[in-house]
Each structure stands twice: as structure tokens, then as C-alpha cells.
Symmetry: D2
Subunit: 358 residues, 4 copies
């Protein structure tokens, strides 16, 4: 994630000349030599192994560490008036997310969550279509995020499989993106999700450590399924897995409305499939026209963008908000609301019943 | 449905010369003049307006009426030793389905449910791949059946929207196919569905009668979502809707296993998408080789079949079972088990909790 | 082909009740026992091994034999006032096609060529779009027909590989369909093809006889490529091959106009891809609505048709023309014009220069 | 193009740390104020309006000007021992290309053409498959490059439509990429193209100047079609257009061999469609694994790249060759050979006959 954000920042001057100028001050990490190395490669002035020492010395703090390290440093930074850009999910617990949301409210700094997929041109264009009424009344939403990197039972254990550090597994890591994207796209039309029913599953209960010396327990979910209901009565299915053979990084959303439907998949992120009121089937649209969101900053029509561009757009928006002292969307409140959903799915799984959100 | 089966029967001699010879004896219906007309067109010898008068005078009784008329005539036929081929869902209530299952057990006749989509070459081929282990251990199943014929709130009311006649809406009509197809494909590997969580939704509560003279209430679901869990621990999402703009008759199944994945859609019924252990992505396979199930009866490789061929195959299998005095799959027991799932989804919706099946 | 047409005729009464009634009189062939067998299966009253004996005893003569047997029997039938439905390509030589065209002109019977792909609902719908101006001025056409059944050098020799019987290889067999489909779709807008440049290729010069006893020479093309130019100045590429690994029966056409574009593939014959003036990409249209050509005769929306339905439509149109004493399109003149193109492509290949057609 | 290369150079340190360090010295252009502006944005030390003044003062000269300005400056640079990276097509005339090729041969500098599409991971992977024999003997190649930016007759005139500056239209601009990509992929297996037949077309003979003050003649082709034959006997169709409605930047290649087939399209540049000997259809492969060419330099599996990454790869390869004093592929000889094909297609169009290449 550090690489993705560093890269994004380095590209702003050429493609978004109006974005604030950025100086990379201090890179925080654990291992001093790796840190020095990375600092040089990415262009930081200095390094620190203790975040407390430096978190109030900067204008903006990027919190890209494991989920369990989101809460305390973010709150301390915000309380010092430092703006914070935090990786998703907002926290490893609902309580932590709540504290972060409250810190953001009382802070003079700007707080943002890196739900970078909001900033894909095709996603922004989809949102425009939905909000302008081209889909009519929304009936159904399907969100799912499919990966396959854990399908091999011998794939090694990592911190992402430890609930104390990660909070949850596919649910937090992939479900957070999925719920945020769904809400971002249809929230204006159908309101919030009011209740959910979830099912979590861990297929492989322990995995070898990276050096293969011993087995460590997997204490998070490998996959989840969920149903959801929006305020308007629209229904949804939601799902994520790290065991979906044949899918690498496949976040997809489908939406059916009374006037039209649309589909998006992250593996073809330059495309949007849209079936409007005058159409007889889904159009496959290459969302790369100069008139499409963000595209005029890059290349001529038909010249596709990649995954990393989502970070450039997200950083540009966040830093502009910081510079102007404004709120950024997705905010910590947005992050908190996603966390509520993750928490509700997990509780639903425990209780085998639908859970009202809020 | 009468047209689909009549057509299927008429094609057996040319394409399945080993199938039993069929004589169309009596066509049952309500309206005498329409009945006489249809009998002539389809080639029946006589007609009847009262099923009780004739149901024991034939070797085989095709029960193609509305769902609420499945129970009594089927049981009476079976008890008279007449074989019965019944449209899906098996009944409009779980109790009715149970009685039908029991009648089938005690009858000397053969009982079959017309889950015709089992007999698509691509579906049969998918089943072969799954059962031969090409997908490995099954982790996820996604079944959904999307149509859009009710998305217009002015579309007229019909018996399918009356729970007393239909039993349920999208759940029974489309969900029955979906659950059967899922079970048919993966049942041998993952066992039965052990529990479900469901959500039913009616978007338009009343609709005009066909002649537009008045409004009648819609007393069935327009759409449902569900989650399911198999004996093996594999998870599933299931969904059907008559409000999915852009989808006409789109029954699709996706299955992810530890070694491979596959996808099928009824709108492209000659194709199967398969990603095996040696593949780097889904192959799009045209399942029209002479070596593919049923294909050698038809045309050379690459010459695609249509929807109606599923009925030819289903009828050929059923009539052969009748002739040989054997059981047919899908049996009334299969139909009953699907009904159990439909019933469990509906009860889950009422209670907002997971329901154990059986 | 006999099976395809017999099947088509047998389905007319149920689905096209207004089509003329047909009586299968005499089946012509070489091998008496095979003939008797086939006659019974398909429902013919009698058989003949000499076409001269019977060709004037029927109302309609279906000429489905090898290409070299198209000319003489068709002409004799037409000269006897018998209507003729002839398989494609019209003849094995341009001279033969010319004589057949002339015979058709002077005959009281109706003459038709079985370019059955004209009668696919998606193709008819494409033609409507083009002729109503939805594509604007046509700039480019791409026609190609890809199969792979000869890619194995050990695949056996057959009459289709003998130029004396077949006239040509992929050119006549597949190119005839391709050129006819192109002309059918865009002819009204761009006129005839005025000149062509072609390239024929035989990859495997000899093949084993079916019983593997000896090798026989392949004297036709395995594949061809061509360029073409229409009267309007629109350009085309045309291609066919029996060596296109991965393609079974893939006749495809793409058309780009100033206002829109469309694409069709026979392997997905229920679909049309269309990009109109208000679209941002190709719509994938399932051409199965009741309002689509021929569809109201079959099944509800979304219930797909197969390859064989093209023959039902073609026979219905042809027999209706016969009954009404009218011309049928595609006529022998259409067949002759396709033959002119095949001949021009072959001559262009020999001379390595563009050939003016006509 | 300047922006694409500047961006590429700026990204090398972070992603290709072993690439030579680059100092942006002098930016050459016509308009002094625009030049100063661009130099600052892209990070050049100085500017020049006369290439002769500076072309021998640098280690590497990037020639990104209009085609007619490729010859003289490139030769002067090479003769001064300066390495040259030149945009495609190599020149606006065959004679110019020949002189450039000869200058490259005698120079101590390295000369490269920016056929950047060679450096797409999916293209490199396709080449590996072909060269390792996974497609067997190659029978057919289809190359085409479809754009639609000129389909509106009111789209303004530009230098690209002037043959004196551009040399040709779609042929040189798009056909050069297409021929190079075809040769790059299959050249090792099928040898060079031995002969071609071409057809050029200009649909709109004059267009308004950008300020709409007057009309200027279009003296280049809007589109071309061609056939080609390789040394091995493999056949090809080639095509490019700026009038292909619905296609933005769609360079595609399809290859059929005796053992397998593949397809690639630039609009989905992260994907390769491959049908191998053990496959029953085309696999859709996301070429984004760590083991895929160049991918380990970027992001984790499944995280897609964009159009601009092709320039990063191309620059990294070229600059590494410069540093090591080695030849770069594609070389000026490769560029010359493409120019021979463009020239042969144009001559074939003039003469209406096949032209032998060389």
C-alpha cells in the first residue's frame, strides 16, 4: 500500500498540476534497514520506528499499517490537528472505528478512508447514471469480491489471517470495499442498508508459517456470503472469498433498476456494462472518453488506465480537501458505517438471524 | 408447456428412434372450443374437461396445469398405476409435495418432475466435470434466475401472482429450477443443503387484470434472495427475480472449487465456461461435439441447439424410464426436496432467521 | 442436409400452420437399402435411384446432392415446371450456375437457394437496422466463416475435397454463405461487390481415404482470404477456413457505418451486437422477443432457438412462394451472383490481381 | 507522445531501479512559450527550437515529431554517435526509412523504434506461447486496428491527413503497429511476409481546418485492407480504419495454428485469449501474475496495468540497450521492414495486383 500511495503522489504534478504540492517527510516502520531502503526509493527525508515520535510533526498522516494499528495512531494524529488518510477497513473492531469517527469529528484535520475504487472513471460514470435516474427505481444490487490466493491449503499464514490484527478476513478486507462501493453507487437512491444476514466460513483452519517451520491457526473468515436490505426495500446479495478459483481481483457490482441495469468488474476496470431504457441489451462501454471522470487528465480516448490510477485520483481528491480544509468523501463516518455492516454480518453469522443495522 | 411437451414428443421418432412410441390420447383442459382446437393442432385423439374422467385411462399422465392442480390429479393417477410427468414446482405447498412423493413411492407407475434444464448438454457435461473431480473440493455455488417481465408495474395480473394457485412467485417458479440445478450439479460432492436464510420481496402489490378493468392483489413474491449451506460446508447464494431489467430468461450457475470453476447461463445454453487445474482462465466451451451428451442425436459439431431441445431430452429419458418400469430422475422425491428448500426459504423470510432443512 | 430439411418440413404444421401442406413423395439416392431406411425414418412414400425417372413427377424438387449434381437435375426439373430448392453453392462451376439461373428465368416453377442463415431472427433484425439507416453510411464489412474440422492432417478425405465434385473447398462451401450473408445485409445500402482480390491455400495436399487404405489428393482450397469493394466504395475483407482451431461453425459478420456498427456470430445465433448512434458501445441483444422476426411462432421471450430453426424458416418462406407462384429470395439469380464472386476470387488467386466482377 | 515518454521515464526509478538513470536535458519544439511551459512541467533543463543545434549534445535523442521529421534529425544524431529512439512509422517514405536503417547500421549509437505494443505483458506471453510451439504450425493471422475518430465528416483536418507530412494515413499510423505486432508474434515461426495485396480508401476528401475557416484536402487514406502471405505459406488479413464506429483504440490480433489459437485486443490489454491443444475453447487469461513478463515490477496478481505502462517497458528496454551498447529490438531494421510492407500495400493499391516484398 505504501508503494501504491507513493507512486500516486509522485504522479500528481504531471497529471494533476492543480493538486497540492507534497513533500515526503517521514516514513514509519519497524525494521530500520528496510525502512532506510524504502525511504530512499520512495523519496522520504527521514524515517521513524515509533509513530508517536513523529505523528504530530506532519501535516498529513497516511495510516497504511495492519488494521489493528489504525485506531490509536489515527486518533492521536487527528487530535493533534493532523489530517489522516487511513487504509480500509477503518478499524479491526467496531469500537475502534467509532472512536476514530469521533476523533475525526472533533479534529481540525481532514480524515479520509482509502476506498480507492470509488475513483475509477467507470464507477464514477455509473454513479452519474444512477443518480440521474437512468436506472429508475433500484430493485436489486449484487456485490461480490472474488480472489483465489488462499485456495491452496499450503499457502502460508500471514497477519491477514489473525483476527487480533486484521479484525476479520475476507469480510473486512474485501467486504469493506464491496459494501462501500455498493453504498457509494446506490446510497442516494435507496438509502442505507437497514438489515443484513451473513454467513462466514473458514475452510482451512491452520496454515504453515512463511518459513514452513510450524502451523499457525487461521482465526478469520476465508469467505462470507450475506443478504442485505436497503431503506427503500431494494435487496442485495453480497459475497467475498479468497477461494474463488479463476478470479484474481474480481470486485464486481451489478444493479437492476426499473429503467435500466449496470454491471462493473474490477478486472475490466475501464469498462462499464449498461442497459438503459432505450437499449435491448447491455452496452459494453469503454469509459475512456475525454468527457469521462478524470480521463482528461491522462491520455486520449481509448487509451486504458490501470489499477494504480485509482490511487492517484483518491490522493488528489484527499489532498485537495486537506488543502482547502474541507471534508473528504469517503470520510471516517463512511468508514464507520461500513464497519457497522461488517460487524452486523459477523453478528448475524454468530446468531443465525438477521441483524438490524443501527 | 403443453406446446413444449407436444413438440418434444413429436420429435422423438426422428432423433431418438429408440424412444418408446407415443400415442397422444386425450388432452385435458377447461375451455371446450380452445381444447378442440389445440387437440387438432397437437394431434390428440380426444379431449376431456374433467381430469377425473380420464386420468386412469392412459399409461402416462402429463400434469402441466397450474401448481395448485398438481397434487390431487397426480396422486389419483399414480394410485391407478399411471405414470406421471409433472411440471415444476412439484406442488404449491410442502404438504402437497409430501403427499405426491408418498404416492409416487407406493405407485407401480413412474413419477418424474420436468426439471428440463438438467438435460442441457452443457449442464450434463458440467456435472461430469464436477463428479470426476475436475473442480476439486467445492467451496462456493451461486445460482440465480433473472427475468424482467414484471418490471413494468402495468404488466397485467395472472394466476402466477396468486399464492393460492401458484404457491409462491419467483421463489417457486424460478427458485425451484435454480435449487434443482444446483443440487443436480454438486449434490454428489457436497451433499444436501442443510440450512437456508431467505428474503422475499413484492415490489408491486397489485396489478391490473388483463382486460384492465380492475386491480388485483399480488400475493406472491416478485423476487427473493437466499443464502445456503451444504453438508460439506460449501456455501451458496441463490436469487431469482422477475424485475431484473436486461435479463430475459437468465438462469445461471457458478461453482468455485479448489481445483477449478465453472459458469453456465441459460441464455447461452450451448456454452459452458470452465477453468480447470491447468488453465489460467475460464475456457468458453461450445458443448456441441458429437461426444457431448445427447449431441450425437442431432447435428454436426458446432451446430447449436435451442431451449426446446431440453424438453426432447427430458421426455426421452422419462418415457424410457416408464417403458422399462424404472425410476426417473428427477423423481418426485427430488421435487419434494426442492419444495422443502422453497418452504424453508419462505419460513426464513417470515422469521428472519436461518432455517434448518429437515 | 436431407435430415435438416426433413426435420424442417415436419415442424411446419405445428409452428407455421399457414405454410403449405407437404407430402414427402420420393427420396432419391444411390444406395437402395440406405435409401429405404432413410425414406421410412423421414416419412417418404417411395424411393428412386435415378433422378431422371422422378424429377418431373413432383411439385417441388429438393436438390441436396453434391455440388456437381446441382446443375443438370435442377435444370431438368425447372424445365418441367417443377419448383427447385437447391443447396449452396448453386453449382460447381460458374457456367453451371449461369445455366441454372437461365433455367429458373424461363421456368414456371419457383427456384430457391438454401442460404438458410438469412432466416435467423438476429440476421433479419440486423437487416432491418441497416436498411432503416441505423448504421448510416456503410464503410466496412468483415465476413468470415471459421471451422476447424480439417486441422488434423489425418482427417479423412471426402468428396468435399475433390474439385470435380465440389467445385472448390472452403471458398464454395463457406465463402458462398459468407458472401450471400454480406450481400443480404448491406446490398440495399452499398450495391454489389464490384471487384475482389483473393488468395486460396491448400495446407495439406493429400489425405487418407476413410478406410485409411490409401492417400487421395486434395484438389480444393482449405482456406481463402479476400478483399472486396462495393459499388458505394465500402470495403470488405472476407475469409473462410477449415483450419481455424477453436472455431467450430463460426460464420461472423461485422459492419461499421457512419452512425453505428453491428456484429453477428453463428455460434451465438440468438444474439446481435449493435452499437447505435446513441450508444457508447455494442449492446448484446438477445433477439428473442415476440416482436422479432419469426420469434412469435416459437416460444416466449428469452427462450433461444437453435441452428435447425433456420431451415424451418427457409422452408416456410420457399414453400409459401411456391404455393403462391411467386419468386423466392434467395433466388437462383442470387445464387449465380454469389457464384460470380467465388469465381472471381479463384481467378484473382490465379492471376494475383484484382478481378472486376461482371 | 512527449507526455507518454516523459511519464515513462519518470517512473523508471521506482519500478525499474536497475534501469539507467536519465537526465532530461533539452526539449525541442517550435513554439518557444509552449516549449518553456512543457519543459518545466516535464522537467527538462533547457529548450531548443532548432534540432541541429543540440542533436549532438545529448546521449540519446527521442524523435517524436511528425513522420516527415524522422529522417534527417535521426540520421544526423546517429552519425554523431547519439542513440535515437524514434516514433513509428520509421519514416514517411521508404527511401527515408532505408537511409535511417543504413545510418543505424553505421552508427556507434543504439537505434530503436517505439513499437510499444510489443511490451505488453499479454503480448510477450503470447509470443512465448507461439515460440514454444503451443499453437503448432501457424495457418492464419488476422491483424486489425480500428478507431473511429474521423467518422464524423466535420472532424477537423490535422497534419496526420497530409501525405507530405504523414506519408500515409491509417496505413502508416495504425498499419505500422499492426504489421509490427504480427511480425513480432509469429515471425520466428512463419518467416517474413513475402507478398501483399492492398486496398486504400479515403472516404472524406476534405475537412475543415481546426478554426473552421476553410477546407483542406485529405491526401492520405482513411482506411485500408490487405491480404498477406508469409514465407511458410501462412495467410493473413490486415486492416485499419479511423472510421470504425464503436472502436476507440482497438488493435487486435488473432492467430490460428494447428495446435492452438490466440486472440488479443488492445482495449483489453491485460487479457489474452488462448485455446491450447488440451482446451475445448478459448481461455480468457488475465496476464497479471508475478510470473508474467514485467508484472513483478508492478503490483500483485490481478491488479491491471494501463496503456502507459507499455511506454515504461519500452523505454526501460531501450535505455538498457543504450547503456550496454547493444542493439535494441525493435530496431531501425525492423522499422524499415514494416515500411517496406506499408509501401508494398500502397503500391498494390495503385496497381491492383499483389506485390512481392523485397
Amino acid at each position: 500500500m505504501g508503494k501504491a500511495h507513493s507512486n500516486a503522489l509522485s504522479r500528481l504534478p504531471m497529471f494533476f498540476p492543480d493538486a497540492p504540492e507534497v513533500e515526503l517527510d517521514v516514513l514509519i516502520g519497524r525494521d530500520e534497514s528496510a525502512l532506510a531502503n524504502a525511504a530512499e526509493r520512495f523519496g522520504f527525508s527521514r524515517t521513524a520506528t515509533n509513530w508517536q515520535d513523529v505523528v504530530d510533526e506532519v501535516d498529513v498522516f497516511y495510516n497504511l499499517g495492519p488494521n489493528a494499528l489504525h485506531v490509536e495512531p489515527s486518533i492521536e494524529a487527528l487530535d493533534a490537528g493532523v489530517s489522516v488518510f487511513c487504509e480500509k477497513p477503518l478499524a479491526h473492531t467496531l469500537e475502534g472505528a467509532e472512536q476514530m469517527r469521533d476523533a475525526a469529528k472533533r479534529s481540525s484535520g481532514t480524515a479520509g478512508v482509502t476506498f480507492n475504487y470509488r475513483f475509477i472513471p467507470a464507477v464514477q460514470y455509473a454513479k452519474e447514471l444512477i443518480e440521474s435516474g437512468d436506472l429508475g427505481e433500484i430493485h436489486h444490487v449484487r456485490g461480490r469480491y472474488l480472489q483465489d490466493w488462499l485456495v491452496d491449503p499450503k499457502a502460508p499464514w500471514s497477519w491477514r489471517l489473525n483476527d487480533e490484527v486484521a479484525g476479520s478476513g475476507a469480510l473486512g478486507d474485501l467486504g469493506s470495499h464491496t459494501f462501500d462501493l455498493m453504498h457509494f453507487l446506490v446510497g442516494e437512491r435507496v438509502g442505507d442498508i437497514e438489515r443484513v444476514s451473513g454467513n462466514l466460513r473458514t475452510f482451512v483452519p491452520e496454515r504453515p508459517t512463511p518459513n514452513r517451520s510450524k502451523m499457525k491457526p487461521v482465526t478469520v473468515d476465508d469467505a462470507f456470503t450475506a443478504q442485505a436490505e436497503f431503506e427503500s426495500g431494494a435487496t442485495a446479495t453480497v459475497e467475498a472469498s479468497r477461494y474463488a478459483t479463476g478470479h484474481k481481483n474480481d470486485l464486481s457490482v451489478e444493479i437492476n433498476g426499473s429503467e435500466g441495469s449496470l454491471r462493473f468488474s474490477l478486472e475490466r476496470l475501464n469498462e462499464l456494462e449498461f442497459c438503459g431504457a432505450d437499449d435491448r441489451g447491455y452496452q459494453t462501454i469503454l469509459v475512456t472518453e475525454e468527457s469521462d471522470p478524470y480521463v482528461d487528465h491522462w491520455w486520449p480516448a481509448g487509451h486504458v488506465l490501470g489499477w494504480e490510477h485509482t490511487f492517484v485520483h483518491a490522493n488528489q481528491e484527499f489532498l485537495t480537501a486537506v488543502e482547502q480544509g474541507e471534508e473528504h468523501a469517503p470520510s471516517f463516518d463512511d468508514g464507520y458505517r461500513v464497519q457497522e455492516l461488517l460487524d452486523a454480518v459477523a453478528r448475524s453469522d454468530e446468531r443465525s438471524e438477521w441483524i438490524d443495522v443501527k
